[in-house]
Symmetry: C2
Subunit: 334 residues, 2 copies
């Protein structure tokens, strides 16, 4: 049996099973955006790590080194944001072909530093080594939060409103612009920028974690059609999502029809949005949304609700159920 | 200018320079075996991360998956040992070609788990992704120690005795057995085993860190001729090393002459020994050595001394100075 057949999550399940007897009480291990470590002291600590490999996660001739440096850190910071944490320190391991220009690496670090400085994240260590052909990047980030205050995937409750902290689909559209080598209008460049330099929702995550009525949180890295099921599985719940309510940027609405793109598909399955997905107690939603709007100048977008049941998402469009397939959404034909 | 021209340490220096203004007081960043993070609470925390790439750090057809899993964790645990810390948790990022057999991965995790269990290190997270051709492994480990008790490379004092916690050269000899495809006698297999499954000196590091008279510590990963200079540079000191006093196993003494190997070279420049290198106050050395011998059944091997001065190692053989070159040691010919 090949890895291809069991997939990433199949492998992770096997690993979890093999090592679970070592897990100590109070520690959160494999299966959320971050691990959570209690330690002594006033805080809990979060750790996340992301591996990026050339030609798998990025194409060297399509992303500038500054953007690559920025994005390498952004994806891990987003995991800290997703638990309501403050990032403290990062660790950068990088494997580089010996023929790489030093100027390329300086630019990479410049982009990495730019985002580090924005959120005051210290680069405290890492590893540097030669690689054969491909650039390999692993970023680990440590964050912190108040004791017991990390927001986990397992905390969704039936009745909760499902929210996202920003527009979906722009990043996936930016990737399409790159892959299809489309002409670069101002709008297309904006989409590419969102794909290459996502702003991790650190401030949003911290703000939300200040409310006990905000329950489960995670970041949207694979698209909500892949990510929401993690919350549902961990919490033992189901969900209803209104495709009409998913926030989409004016840019995407304008650009998509020109290229025949399915906006619903990009917004739910495109991935790499790096906004936060959270569930909020229905009684408090209006108040929290008002506060969020004051703080961030946009809504905490209500896209659906958590329901009792197990691991099922019911997708609604114009009030009618539609079927989610690998090609997008279809009306039930049966 | 290419990376090849400035090298790993040249690159690390450039990175340190670019990010140093983000470093907060009380944090130890780039430039030691681990970062040290104060946090609140009773302890300090250590973080280390190591990147291993197929065909650079290991040959897939020369190391079993169990050994690879074991060694991937061992090299990072050794960094925690080197600061006198207790490892708490590990994070495994792995990039794997999709055609890899699941059985291979299960064996890898088995080896990783074996060492995790030995030192009670929880595997709390990581990342799994596809890679093009090569296996890529990044292991991060978090450890802890009493506040301010981490042993740094910068703590050596003039007059200190330089010690190592185990024999040197076996691992490098094991690598030679593999690379030269030598016949596998019992002795050769022992050397290969030490190369593939080094035992990180966690217990030795913890024991040594219990004595304030033990000053600088680090682990021997590149060989003492490359590693000792890090202590000298960080501490602003020089050193004298007696080649005659470097501990070498009976196996290596027996095997080396058969293959024309230079034992001094293997023991000082071979690398991957993963024993600890430390400096001890001369007044306390005898007492500490006696205690170490009782605890571990072998000496804390005295191989030389720290002297005033800057970054110079004086190598002695039979009481006479010899010159260390890339080919080994030469008598001064000038």
């Amino acid at each position: 049996m090949k890895l291809r057949e069991i997939g990433e999550f199949g492998f992770i399940d096997r690993v979890s099973e093999q090592v679970k007897d070592l897990l100590l009480p109070g520690y959160l291990g494999i299966g959320d955006d971050c691990a959570v470590i209690p330690f002594t002291g006033k805080e809990d600590y979060m750790v996340t790590t992301d591996l990026l490999i050339e030609d798998i996660h990025f194409l060297k001739n399509r992303i500038t080194p500054e953007e690559l440096g920025y994005k390498s850190l952004a994806v891990s910071l987003s995991d800290i944001a997703a638990k309501g944490g403050t990032p403290v320190a990062s660790f950068l391991s990088i494997g580089i072909p010996a023929e790489t220009e030093v100027g390329y690496l300086d630019s990479f670090i410049k982009g990495y530093y730019e985002l580090s400085r924005k959120y005051r994240v210290q680069l405290l260590g890492g590893d540097t080594t030669e690689s054969k052909e491909y650039i390999v990047i692993n970023v680990g980030v440590i964050g912190k939060c108040g004791k017991g205050e990390a927001r986990l995937r397992s905390m969704a409750m039936a009745g909760d409103i499902i929210c996202v902290t920003g527009c979906l689909g722009d990043s996936a559209a930016g990737l399409q612009v790159l892959l299809q080598n489309l002409p670069r209008t101002h709008d297309h460049l904006r989409l590419i920028r969102i794909h290459h330099m996502p702003d991790p929702h650190i401030k949003e995550g911290l703000w939300l974690a200040g409310y006990p009525e905000v329950h489960a949180m995670m970041d949207v890295s694979d698209g909500i059609s892949s990510d929401l099921p993690h919350i549902l599985k961990s919490s033992g719940k189901s969900a209803v999502v209104n495709l009409d309510k998913i926030p989409v940027s004016a840019t995407l609405k304008k650009v998509a029809p020109r290229h025949g793109w399915d906006i619903d598909k990009l917004a739910t399955s495109g991935g790499e949005d790096y906004v936060l997905l959270c569930t909020v107690s229905p009684d408090s939603f209006e108040r929290i949304n008002a506060g969020f709007n004051t703080a961030f100048g946009r809504d905490l977008y209500n896209i659906g609700g958590i329901t009792p049941g197990k691991n099922r998402i019911k997708w609604l469009k114009n009030g009618k159920e539609v079927l989610h397939t690998q090609h997008g959404f279809d009306h039930f034909s049966a």
